[in-house]
Amino acid sequence: MDIIVCIKQVPDTTDVKIDPKTGTLIREGVPSIVNPDDKHAIEEALKLREKHGGKVTAISMGPPQAVVALREVYAMGVDEAILVSDRMFAGSDTWATAYAIGQAVKKIAKYDIIFCGRQAIDGDTAQIGPQLAELLDIPQVTYVTHVEPKGDKLLVHRALEDGHMNLEVPKPALLTAIKELNEPRYPSMGGIVKAHRDYQVKVWTGADVAASPNMTGIPGSPTKVKRTFAPEPKGKVEMIEGDSGAVKVGNLVTKLKDKNVVREG
């Protein structure tokens, strides 16, 4: 079973801070990581290969430094890692990004499953998977919690807020992974050494994937960012004072009563 996994290198958003003066992100010193949902996609692909054979190829569209993320998933065990990188992709929204990745997928051509992480922790859109599937004209299942081959089809469980659906899907199909799917393995030490000494991540430019500049980057993006800003902080908090816990609580309850969030029952 040949599987393509799409990954993204993202800043670790638990560490990100906003510059209070400019309202923009402070990127320095923020470590870059492989998007967490993508690791679940990689893990599942590796598990399927262990059971059913085949090739696992990881691809990523990003700036040159995204090669580090690809080395990391190579160290986890994928067979091939490809970076699709070109200035023409800069500024892409999800439509334009799906196009670029789609071109790379078309170049690889042979696949039974395309696995994506459901959502990236920087863009938070969760749109690439479905948009890519539509572009490639293949069925999609998102929020995948289980997948196994069933004859020439796939049996897939997809999560709902209050349960899940069991689906039967023909191949090739695109699946998006959530954290409930599996427990990703750590890159092995041997894998890390191999990734840095014996392996060269392939780099494809826009021309290599026959990407048309109008279909990607800013020209290829139907959505535009009007502005970004830091979320409004609330007005200052009123800290309740008091000599003891009981006194503080008494003061608080009085205020809550005044605010009408508690009242006589």
Partner: protein, 406 residues
């Protein structure tokens, strides 16, 4: 016109091609042969090259790119995907009708609802009662359970028929699967997980505001050249209108046309997890616990307070990951978004991810040992103290004063 190109790396500079060209269309530049504008595409040079360095350039498909939607002005109206499951309209759909109503008023247009399912006629009336002017209803056994392919086809047909300038979907597990597929098919812009929607009066553009970078940054997005402008909206943020059973509206029986390609996915089973559904989104008051609670038993202290206030129990990601409280109580970026009348955060540090889930609560009370905890930046009232001391005192005080939640 057929064009040729000489590969610089393979060219050895023998100039045989220069001699072969009847039009003098090949120059030598720095010892390598280069084709100039005189070339007519006759191809005589190709055979002359001993290194086979001259090749035909394949017709470059210069894609036009996602050109703006034709006839943008013809798109009028606000449409809402009225998500239903098992015959029940999801609350977010009603919230979107509420917001859609406001947007429609601002634009001076009608509000549509797209209803898909099997045996959903009664639901159509509900949608009108909550604000829809027109309900496009696709009533068909094939649509009983959600399937990406079938639902995408039907809604794309509905969009093409009704031509709304705005289309809204709840950012549910289904909405976030469906909307991007539609956006790609009809080539338009989609903004995910919006928390705010306004109309720019001058341009009639929809301004879509949503969190990014895990909630650290807010971005306002536009889709200036494509219609409909699509957005998925976070449940629990917008407010539905008062139900008006006397409201008038039109139900349009929409013809469902599904080809083989729209029915590739087969639903084998729909399984509901049988636990007492925790309804945080509807709760008026939430008592929530984080790292400071310390254990599963620690939550009993919060339950005591929740009982007096008739409140629901919430938990931060830390509490859930440590197994102190079940996942369906999780509030935050990767949990539920809530906006209750009062949110009491006990022993919660208030990371950005958590604040993203409860920041729009009306009144926020925070109890934490650490005076520098981030939670105090969003709280209305704060007490620095140990929740294991403070929370029981609150329960006691409320009981003694005979006070309950609103």
């Amino acid at each position: 016109m057929v064009e040729f190109k000489i590969n610089k790396d393979e060219c050895i500079g023998c100039q045989l091609c220069v001699k072969s060209c009847p039009y003098g269309a090949i120059d030598m530049v720095d010892g390598k042969a280069v084709i100039n504008e005189k070339c007519t595409g006759c191809g005589a040079c190709v055979e002359s090259c001993p290194k086979e360095a001259i090749k035909e350039i394949k017709e470059q498909v210069v894609d036009e790119g996602p050109q703006g939607t034709e006839n943008m002005g013809a798109y009028k109206g606000v449409a809402v995907f009225a998500e239903q499951r098992g015959g029940e309209i999801k609350p977010v759909a009603l919230q979107l009708l509420g917001k859609g109503r406001d947007l429609a008023e601002d634009l001076g247009v009608e509000l549509y609802a797209y209803l898909l399912g099997s045996n959903v006629q009664e639901l159509a009336k509900e949608l009108i009662a909550y604000g829809a002017d027109k309900v496009y209803m696709a009533n068909d056994p094939e649509l009983e359970n959600y399937r990406t392919d079938a639902y995408t086809k039907v809604i794309v047909d509905m969009i093409r028929e009704s031509m709304p300038e705005i289309a809204l979907y709840g950012a549910t597990y289904i909405g976030r699967d469906l909307a991007p597929r539609i956006a790609q098919r009809i080539t338009t812009g989609l903004t995910a997980d919006c928390t705010e929607l306004t109309i720019d009066k001058e341009t009639r553009n929809l301004e879509q505001t949503r969190p990014a970078f895990g909630g650290n940054v807010m971005a306002t997005i536009l889709t200036p050249n494509h219609r409909p402008q699509m957005a998925t909206v976070r449940p629990g943020i917008m407010k539905h209108k008062e139900r008006d059973p006397n409201r008038q509206g039109e139900v349009i029986d929409f013809k469902v046309q599904l080809g083989e390609k729209d029915q590739l996915i087969k639903v084998l089973e729909v399984i509901k997890e049988h636990k007492k559904a925790v309804n945080l989104e509807e709760a008026k008051i939430i008592v929530s616990g984080g790292r400071g609670v310390g254990s599963e038993e620690g939550f009993n202290v919060l339950r005591g307070l929740a009982e007096v206030l008739d409140a629901e129990i919430g938990g931060s990601r830390v509490a859930v990951e440590n197994g102190w409280i079940a996942q369906d109580h999780q509030v935050g970026q990767t949990g539920k978004t809530v906006s209750p009348e009062m949110y009491i955060a006990c022993g919660i540090s208030g990371s950005i991810q958590h604040r993203a889930g409860m920041g729009s609560s009306k009144v926020i009370v925070a109890i934490n040992k650490d005076p520098n905890a981030q939670i105090f930046t969003v709280a209305d009232y704060g007490i620095v103290g140990d929740l294991h001391e403070i929370v029981p005192l609150m329960t006691k005080e409320l009981k003694e004063k005979g006070l309950k939640g609103l």
